[in-house]
């Protein structure tokens, strides 16, 4: 026995001429043996005849159909003309699509740098003073010059010791980095490594000394080291790891900013005296 839903399906197929010959034979058989279904089918068919007569949509005409494409083409042309200048549609350019991942990384990197910069500004760390670091305090007079100098030197050497050790660790890991670069860049990189090694040797020798002149040289050497590291960082196509190590090293060297430390010592000493 066929389900009512299946019979309805056959009726719809038949009403709209989608019935296969086998389905039509099956429907005929059902209608022949089921008078209620037959009556239902006939009434529905009659209704659809009436609806078909009444519910019609006029065709827009050949002229309309002939102009469909031209209308479309004109619309596309108008939209292209009215579109924003290509400068503002850069995201649709082929080269932008190609470089999109690299550009995204670049944007993230810029945001990171900006974030670090802003963070530093907000943290209240002041930049080193311009010119002679001591000039700001040159008008301050205080007794016990020798004692202050000694304390200053002790402090500085303590800072130098810890920072030097820290820098050594960082530089050791930096030395292990194998930049997968062109030969000329590797040469430059090696030269910078050698130069840095010499600076570190000088620093180690200077560590034994504790007078102002030596400390000034110490400071100058660190400045030089920072410049060297800056040059290393600008090597074309530095791998991420190299960049990271250089940044870490620069951070460590900033910690060793002797001029700032000298000021701190003087303030501290003066305050102690008062």
């Amino acid at each position: 026995m066929k389900k009512a839903r299946d019979i309805e399906s056959l009726i719809i197929d038949e009403l709209f001429d989608e019935c296969s010959s086998s389905d039509k034979a099956e429907l005929d058989s059902i209608l022949e043996n089921d008078s209620a279904r037959r009556e239902e089918f006939n009434s529905i068919k009659e209704t659809m005849d009436v609806v078909s007569r009444e519910l019609k949509v006029n065709d827009p005409g050949e002229e309309y159909w002939d102009n469909v494409w031209d209308t479309f083409r004109n619309r596309v042309l108008v939209e292209e003309r009215e579109a924003k200048p290509s400068l503002f549609r850069f995201d649709q350019m082929a080269w932008v699509q190609f470089w999109k991942p690299a550009l995204q990384i670049g944007v993230v990197a810029i945001m990171l740098v900006l974030g670090i910069f802003i963070g530093k500004q907000l943290s209240g760390v002041s930049a080193p003073a311009e010119g002679d670091p001591d000039s700001t305090y040159s008008d301050i007079t205080y007794p016990y010059q020798e004692e202050i100098a000694r304390k200053k030197n002790e402090y500085m050497l303590g800072v130098a010791d810890s920072s030097l050790n820290e820098s050594r660790d960082i530089i050791d890991s930096f030395m292990e980095v194998n930049p997968d670069q062109s030969i000329s860049d590797i040469d430059r990189f090696t030269q910078q490594q050698d130069k840095m090694g010499r600076i570190l040797e000088d620093l180690t020798l200077l560590r034994a000394s504790s007078d102002d002149i030596q400390l000034q040289r110490y400071s100058n050497l660190f400045d030089e080291l920072e410049i060297v590291l800056g040059e290393i960082a600008t090597l074309k196509g530095d791998p991420m790891q190299l960049q990271y190590e250089v940044r870490s090293l620069q951070e460590g060297i900033r910690e060793l900013n002797l001029r700032e430390r000298l000021k701190e010592v003087r303030f501290q000493t003066v305050n102690d005296r008062r």
Partner: protein, 200 residues
């Protein structure tokens, strides 16, 4: 171009051959138009849908994963776009809640019944009856019925456009036809009697 299959034309259109895309549009423009006409009603809106669908198809052609399925794909775009337009028109409905502007029948009121005196006699009441029944149908039944009757889409095409099974489409159409029969039968019999009296 005319001897090429849809899939071949799609491939050529993707290679910036505008003629191939034009041929595809020529093949399906009437189906798109009548699909829209069945849903949105007015010629003006159906025309807008046709143009929108052509543009959308041109822009999205590269996303078509089965080029041989271009026909059902574009009909589905047409159906979805028509539903969007219909909703938009409903939101724009006049303050007095008039159906003008988005109702299917508002567009065909003056297109029929032609010059046949018998049809002129019958048409006013029966047309009003059909309008009332179809207008009150649930959207799923109304859309399935009108896509079948106005757009002459196959059951399979309607199912793909409406994203449902063929069985559901048939059930929806059957329910719509049943309601039409229930409402129209008395009217049709009455008119047949009147015509019989006039004829005698």
């Amino acid at each position: 171009m005319k001897h090429l299959s849809d899939a071949e034309l799609v491939a050529r259109a993707l290679n910036d051959q505008m003629q191939a895309f034009q041929e595809l549009i020529d093949r399906y423009k009437k189906k798109i138009y009548y699909t829209a006409r069945g849903v949105v009603g007015t010629h003006q809106d159906a025309e807008d849908v046709l143009q929108d669908v052509m543009l959308q198809a041109l822009r999205s052609l590269k996303k078509l994963r089965q080029p041989e399925g271009f026909g059902p794909w574009i009909v589905r775009i047409a159906f979805n776009r028509s539903i969007d337009i219909k909703r938009k028109r409903k939101r724009e409905v006049l303050p007095d809640n008039s159906d003008e502007g988005f109702d299917f029948f508002s567009s065909i009121r003056n297109e029929n019944p032609g010059s046949d005196p018998e049809r002129l006699l019958n048409s006013s009441d029966i047309s009003t009856g059909i309008q009332k029944v179809v207008r009150d149908l649930p959207d799923s039944q109304k859309n399935a019925f009108l896509l079948k009757h106005i757009a002459s889409l196959s059951i399979k095409e309607i199912a793909m456009a409406m994203n449902c099974t063929e069985s559901t489409v048939k059930t929806n159409i059957y329910r719509a036809v049943q309601k039409l029969r229930d409402e129209l039968s008395p009217l049709v019999k009455e008119k047949q009697t009147q015509i019989g009296v006039l004829g005698a």
